[in-house]
Amino acid sequence: MSQYPINPELQVQGALSDNERLKAESHHLRGTITTDLKDEITGGFTGDNFLLVRFHGMYQQDDRDLRAERAEQKLEPLHNVMLRARMPGGIIKPEQWLAIDKFASEKTLYGSIRLTTRQTFQFHGVFKPNIKPMHQMLHSIGIDSIATAGDVNRNVLCTSNPVESVLHQQAYEWAVKISEHLLPKTRAYAEIWLDEEKVETTETEPVLGDTYLPRKFKTTVVIPPHNDIDVHANDLNFVAIAENGQLVGFNVLVGGGLAMTHGDKGTYPRRAEDFGFIGLEHVLKVAEHVVTVQRDYGDRVNRKNAKTKYTIDRIGVDTFKQEVEKRVGVQFQPSRPYTFTHRGDRFGWVEGIDGKHHLTLFIENGRLLDYPGKPLKTGVSEIAKIHKGDFRMTANQNLIIAGVAAEDKAQIEAIARAHGLIEDTVTEQRKNSMACVSLPTCPLAMAEAERYLPTLVTHVEGILVKHGVADDHIILRVVGCPNGCGRAMLAEAGLVGRGPGKYNLYLGGNTAGTRIPKLYLDNVAEAEILAALDTLIGRWALERHAGECFGDFVIRVGVVAEVKVSKTDFHA
């Protein structure tokens, strides 16, 4: 029950979705997970626990490449979990890195560390007997995975900007504070995974509510002009406003989100709305009450329309904003001016204003693994053994070796080069291409993404060379399903999986990430996608205005219509 007066006319009435029942019956996310952990007959979780473990940062998955084969073998799917750590702002220390590196090698099916668009790392392929040891290992190095999935506020992102170290440090601290403030208060995580004593308390969830949020909720802190974390993919964004290099407050953007459902026109990717500026003293209360308004007015009947973006479209931006203002007890001030210019990471060395050096490494697909001739994962662990600063995982799935003293640069670069972590031949196109995890582990995937991206980029590189624009690039993203992890719906060219080998092709995002692309080709195979890109990139090379990006070009010449208001334009 909300502690605020509710206007039932603004709520969606009807039978609640089954997820609401299971949250309500879960005893604050406990369910019967501990019983399932003792069940030696299946590697999976049963009943509600299958979904409840998500609130603890894990997804039950299986190796889909093996699913049919194992069914024939009368074996259950190769159940395992994927774990997504909570790392606000993506900063991780070398000693932490060495511990997760060891676990990934010794206790996961795939032996990899996967950097993700949520600015954190994932373990893929953890079998049931290793789940509790995994959480205990993480706890011992000060890491948890609370609320990195499920209907809660997830890992809070923060622009990876080591150069402006003072501003970044201030913004980063807010990301951590917001993450902590919005965490579930239940002790379920500590009890189940860390064997901490059961304390008899009457638990409540004053912010998230006893049935948590209607749907997942994503928050960022962004430092313009860099939009690496893609504000429009997130429910709640704090845009850092600085004066003389010092943080003074934030513009608050609410209601972005990229997920949709194929064939359901009531779903669409949508940009976030600018609510206005707030001073630092109101940050936590504003974060809390954007969450509580979404908690109280989000759609709990139809999960496909449960995200903040649909709440805003249903009750109106002004209503939503006024309700937040009422609950916080302050008014949003007019937005302060800012601009986003780019989203990509700045690869190579940069020097910060504090005189420290930072090396950004391009990690294709974010997958750290020892490949033949390219022992990437070993390379990073070798760096971790001598590095005195920290690591920063970026929202573009890359890795920054941050805070390197001038005298240590050469040694770190030498290790990076020796392990294939720096390759001078990598093109701008490859560096600006991204894919979600997809097959074989993601249960939602309809088509390949991560495993297909390297090949696709090679084809697109060929097209760029053919048209004489080899040094240019388009922001290219491939995702296995329409749920938004790889942020294809903010790409200049986004491929969204439909079925094996088939994708929808969306065109018309921009470099700053402030425009939703529009459907250009429906359910097509690689040959058609490449033919279309060949034609359009050819035209772009010849007809573009100076400095005009591909996404702007296809809209100007009418290849696709611009999506201004998602609700009306996206499916038009």
Binding site: E40, I41, T42, G43, R64, L66, R67, A68, E69, R70, A71, E72, Q73, K74, L75, E76, L78, F127, P129, H262, G263, D264, M446, R498, G499, P500, K502, D522, N523
Partner: protein
């Protein structure tokens, strides 16, 4: 029952009896026929020593509507659940099931079926329905003259092969002789309304038929499993094997497993061969032709040479391939071969029995020849070798479940030695050389010392590795008989993810309560090795309590170590939880053995 089957070769009736029975049956209405069938079943059960209680408690069958869903995203499952609710509201008994866990061999017995299916990718069935789809379009698909059905497809018209799987099921069921009761609908993404109206239309047709059928069959007493065949005599034995057909050869250990275990299905159709849970199947096999070639070459003999064997004349190649033992090694061969070839090294070895045993432990018969080539007369070679013996495998199925099939769980013997991969004779034949559809000679080896007790008695089954085979048969038998006795299985193998034989079936038995308890020991999944005997001891108090309640105890599998270790664990349990002295514990299990409550099938 069609009368043709009364006069089939397997029928125990003579011509006059068939005629009399036909005459009687022709005068009966269906309800009378059903009553007679129940009467005869009960009488047969009594005559074969069964209890009246089991007849009286045999389940009464009402007409059931089976609804299967093949869901990729959960939509088909949701629609199926709604159809179930609506049908039940109309008083129809419904069995709703994920098509993934549906036992395909039950299909031939279904009367009323609704399938709700999605389609995946380029017209493929959803992953959960791949097996069912394969079955329906495969060689083993049964004729379905009894089945009345309807299919509902969910799909997305933007895909080229819209609702392809629904079309496949619909047309193939018809092709197999089933009757389509209600026309298929292929529904698009916004399926809700159309699904509701299809549901109404379909149930309007199904419900009255189901209700009528339910009344008609309510008197039928279920045929009491394979106990009815208990007394029947098979014309086949080791000397006169039946010719059967390999119908499936499926590896059931995962890739990366160190073990290669095959689930083998053999069709007994037209043989009339019957068996009971606990029996073994004798399998004759042909030797590997490549191995035969190598032996011919090593002995300088020609395969075309005629030799005599057991009073028959045949070519040497046929003798080596079909009649003589080339894999399982044994001392007398080395003696004869040493004498025939005059090989002094072998002659020395023969004199030292311990060395000979160690030597043979690492070799197959053919290895001895290949490592000691010598020019021999064809007949001399034949005279060295003994006749091949069929291999016995504990049967892994119950005919109450699989009808005219027999299933085996075969561990493939495979090892590398002397630069060659070696395969076991029979396991290599079944797993690698005999193609599906190929013929093989088999017979049933009855084993009255490994039998289920009556339906009410609890059983504890300990069967690690391929030792699980007879317990799969037991569970099938008890499931089909509706036995009320509790069933507890202990299973073990090296790794959970790779070697959990019949995992999905056992999970289903557990879920349905057929298995009351299942304890597993995966020895290599942790630093400290854990075996079935350890699990048994960990549950010692409960094991003892079951034994006090009259449970029967079964062990199947490795006799060298496992069965001994398990026996020791049982003695320890009797001491710890029963307070028995070492001597009393030994006596206790000896008494159990004598009263047939402690039975072993070990090898």
């Amino acid at each position: 029952m069609p009368f043709t089957s009364l006069i089939a070769p397997a029928s125990p009736l003579n011509a006059q009896q068939v005629q009399d029975l036909q005459k009687l049956v022709s005068q009966l209405n269906p309800i009378q026929q059903a009553w007679v069938s129940g009467y005869l079943a009960a009488a047969a059960q009594l005559a074969s020593g069964g209890s009246t209680a089991s007849v009286a408690s045999a389940p009464q069958q009402a007409a059931v509507l089976t609804i299967l869903y093949a869901s990729q995203t959960g939509n088909a499952k949701g629609v199926a659940a709604k159809i179930k609710a609506a049908a039940e509201a109309q008083g129809v008994a419904v069995q709703l099931q994920d098509i993934a866990s549906y036992k395909t061999n039950a299909l031939a017995k279904e009367k009323f079926l609704i399938i709700v299916t999605s389609t995946y990718g380029e017209g493929e069935p959803p992953e959960s329905a791949v097996s069912f789809h394969k079955f329906l379009f495969g060689k083993k698909a049964p004729k379905l003259p009894e089945l009345q059905y309807a299919v509902l497809g969910l799909g997305d018209t933007s895909y080229e092969f819209f609702c392809k799987t629904a079309v496949d099921f619909d047309e193939q069921l018809a092709a197999l002789g089933a009757k389509r009761l209600f026309a298929r609908a292929d529904l698009d993404v916004d399926y809700a309304d159309a699904a509701a109206s299809w549901q109404q239309g379909a149930l309007d047709v199904f419900s009255p038929l189901l209700k009528a059928a339910g009344a008609g069959s309510a008197q039928v007493i279920a045929w009491p499993g394979s106990t009815a065949t208990a007394g029947s005599h098979s014309p086949y034995d080791k000397q006169h094997p039946a010719t059967a057909e390999l119908s499936a050869n499926q590896k059931i250990t995962a890739r990366n497993s160190t073990k290669d275990v095959r689930h083998i299905e053999i069709s007994l159709a037209d043989t009339g061969l019957t068996y009971q849970p606990g029996d073994a199947l004798g399998v004759f096999f042909d030797n590997d032709p490549a191995l035969v070639d190598a032996v011919l070459q090593a002995t300088g003999t020609s395969g075309d040479t005629e030799v005599s064997l057991g009073g028959q004349t045949l070519t040497l190649r046929d003798a080596l391939q079909r009649e003589l033992e080339l894999t399982q090694s044994y001392p007398s061969f080395v003696e004869k071969y040493a004498a025939a070839t005059g090989n002094s090294e072998l002659q020395q070895l023969v004199a030292d029995k311990t060395a000979l045993r160690a030597y043979l432990a690492e070799r197959q018969t053919a290895d001895v020849i290949l490592q000691h080539p010598a020019q021999l007369q064809a007949q001399a070679l034949v005279d060295c070798l003994r006749k091949v013996q069929p291999r016995l495998y504990s049967i892994a199925s119950s005919q109450a479940e699989v009808g005219e099939e027999v299933h085996l769980t075969v561990g493939v013997v495979r090892f590398d030695a002397f630069g060659q991969t070696h395969l076991g004779g029979a396991s290599g034949f079944l797993a690698e050389r005999l193609e599906e559809g190929g013929k093989l000679r088999v017979f049933v080896e009855h084993n009255d010392n490994f039998r289920l007790p009556d339906h009410d008695t609890p059983v504890i089954m300990i069967g690690p590795g391929t030792g699980i085979a007879p317990f799969r048969a037991f569970l099938q038998e008890r499931d089909n008989a509706g036995a009320t006795g509790q069933n507890w299985l202990f299973f073990g193998n090296p790794h959970f993810t790779r070697d959990f034989l019949y995992q999905v079936e056992l999970q289903d038995y557990l879920k349905r309560g057929v298995l009351s308890k299942l304890d597993v020991a995966f020895s290599r999944d942790q630093a400290q090795k854990v075996y079935v005997q350890d699990k048994l001891k960990a549950k010692g108090a409960e094991v003892w309590s079951w034994l006090q309640q009259g449970a029967h105890l079964y062990i199947c599998g490795d006799g060298n170590r496992m069965a001994k270790d398990v026996h020791q664990a049982l003695l320890d349990i009797a001491a710890e939880h029963g307070g028995l002295s070492a001597e009393a514990a030994t006596d206790y299990f000896e008494q159990l053995r004598e009263s047939k409550r402690y039975q072993k099938d070990v090898y």
